[in-house]
């Protein structure tokens, strides 16, 4: 009798695990594939990455994510010096959070991502903005030098 009891319990566990695995499979069937990322989401993720590169003091990498146009206007050495000045004045990035993002122009080509950053030397967090040019579905960071824009409205 005890042996049958164990077998029944084992069978119940197998059925339960199988059921769980079927449920997960069903769920996977209805969600969006992870590879589908909108330019808006991409710009937010890129902003997080950009801030984290500076947080990690990887200034060379933070230069490499700039648009080709920006890289033509500023050398990696100059960019690194600017990053070092920010570090010397404001300190290191301690924490950050994305507070919002919006289209910056009427043509919906520039995405602005607002980031609240706590620097180690500043008394209060500051609101910074990183800009991303959306080209062929990809978000590329830009400083917008030489660009002329009109805002696109309240949409976020």
């Amino acid at each position: 009798m005890l042996r049958w009891g164990w077998l029944a319990a084992l069978l119940a566990i197998v059925i339960f695990v199988a059921g769980c695995s079927c449920s997960r499979s069903d769920a996977d069937a209805v969600v969006e594939p992870a590879s589908v990322v909108t330019p808006e989401q991409q710009s937010v993720e890129s902003a997080k990455s950009s801030v984290e590169l500076i947080q990690a003091k990887d200034y060379a990498a933070s230069y490499r994510v700039l648009s080709a146009t920006d890289q033509e206007k500023v050398t990696e050495e100059e960019w690194t010096r600017r990053c070092q000045e920010v570090e010397a004045i404001a300190g290191l990035v301690e924490t950050y959070r994305v507070t919002g993002s919006r289209w910056l122009d009427e043509g919906h080509t520039i995405r602005a991502v607002d980031v609240e950053i706590e620097f180690s030397k500043l008394d209060e967090p500051i609101t910074s903005t990183l800009f991303y040019e959306i080209k062929d579905g990809k978000a590329v960071q830009t400083m917008l030098w030489g660009r002329e824009l009109r805002l696109a409205g309240d949409e976020q």
Partner: protein
């Protein structure tokens, strides 16, 4: 000479005179004056020696501590009167911002009197933009007279300055001394992003939303914008962009520049201090007023709005608008009461004029002067500013001439 020949010559002369009388005569025009306005803890020197004006002369002073100076040629051509207002005599240019804004109000009035111009084009650095917006929005007890032709703000803390209430924001000793002077000041407190002053400024529209506005953003540093202001802080109405959209003509332009020479120098010294090195000269940084990009943006903005400017009463015939109309559906001009003016439109279109200051009587006046006609004369009832409007999409090439032989 026979009588018939004499008659023919006389008739020809009369006809020629008649034709000439309806042709738009060569206009006696002047370029719209330019007013340069400095920022916090600054003075007139910020614009001199950096390509804006090559020298300053003829100061006119006001007991409130304001001084107006005439600029020598620089960015603008010889025909453009350039002025600089210096309000450092009022609490060191870090006093109450609405009170400081009286300097802009006063300077514009003075320039109009000196030149006879109806409007003045204003270029400002940093806090000077807040002073100008106080006037444009009719705040601080000021009444906007619709006399700004356009405005360009360079690195203005439209949304405030996070650093302003940080008591030196953790800078090294030298930098803290620089900022402590203004972070404790009245203007410094008003530039706190949470201040009631900025709350009111950014929740109030321009009195005249058609004033062309260009907002130049210094974006030199990663994350820190111009080193003092983030990019976000240099654009007005960012909490409610729809308010920005209500401006009829605005642009946002980005320049690789730091806020001021002082900021650039201090930052470099801070690096040296962090590295335990002695102070040094440092690299050449790019303060916004010293960049050719900022000057080019300001000049282009000026050229877009300052095509002609009427000289009232200085000639018997003058041109109000010599350039083909673009999307701007209106023009303003000043006429003298009791005098008869001749209006001519280059093509038939619905055309009317109205008085800016006599709004309660405008409806009656509108009915009297509207109509689908291209020429008529009118005796003006008030000495005031009038505007003309017409259906510019239907008549994109329309021009209007206003002439008189009646003004002494």
């Amino acid at each position: 000479m026979t009588r018939s020949k004499i008659t023919t010559i006389l008739l020809s002369a009369v006809l020629a005179l008649a034709v000439l009388s309806v042709q738009p005569a060569a206009a006696e025009t002047m370029k719209t004056p330019v007013l340069l306005v400095h920022g916090l803890n600054s003075d007139k020197q910020v614009f001199s020696g950096s390509g804006w004006t090559s020298g300053l002369s003829g100061p006119v002073s006001d007991p409130r501590g304001f001084t107006l100076l005439k600029g020598e040629s620089g960015l603008f051509d010889e025909a453009t009167p350039v002025y600089v207002v210096d309000y450092s005599g009022f609490e060191g240019a870090h006093g109450d911002i609405p009170a400081s804004a009286q300097a802009v109000d006063w300077a514009i009035s003075h320039i109009k009197t000196q030149t006879g111009a109806d409007k003045v084009f204003v270029v400002v650095h940093s806090m000077g933009g807040l002073l100008t917006r106080v006037y444009l929005e009719g705040l601080g007890g000021l009444s906007y007279r619709r006399d700004i032709a356009g405005v360009v703000t360079l690195n203005t803390p439209h949304m405030g300055c996070e650093f302003s209430d940080s008591g030196g924001f953790g800078l090294n000793e030298a930098a803290s001394r620089f900022t402590a002077g203004w972070s404790d000041s009245k203007a410094g407190q008003q530039m706190d992003p949470d201040s009631s002053f900025l709350g009111e400024l950014n929740s109030t529209d321009y009195v005249d939303p058609t004033v062309p506005s260009t907002f130049v953003v210094g974006n030199h540093y990663p994350l820190l914008g111009d080193g003092l202001l983030t990019a976000w802080e240099q654009i007005p109405y960012m909490d409610s962009p729809s308010r920005l959209h209500r401006l009829g003509d605005y642009r946002i332009e980005f320049v690789d520049a730091v806020h001021s020479p002082e900021i650039g120098k201090l930052y470099y010294q801070a690096i040296l201090a962090a590295e335990g090195k002695a102070a040094g000269a440092g690299p050449v940084l790019r303060p916004i007023v010293g960049t050719h990009e900022a000057r080019a943006i300001a000049k282009a903005a000026y050229d877009r709005v300052a095509t002609t400017n009427m000289v009232d009463g200085a000639s018997t015939t003058f041109l109000v608008n010599g350039a083909p109309l673009d999307s701007v559906n209106g023009r303003e001009f000043r006429l003298t009461a009791g005098h008869t003016y001749h209006f001519r439109l280059s093509s038939n279109a619905m055309f009317f004029i109205g008085s800016v200051e006599n709004l309660e009587q405008l409806n009656q006046y509108y009915k009297d002067t509207s109509g689908s006609r291209s020429e008529w004369s009118l005796t003006v009832p008030w000495t005031t500013t009038y505007w003309v409007e017409w259906d510019s999409p239907a008549t994109p090439d329309a021009r209007v001439w206003i002439s008189t032989t009646d003004v002494p």
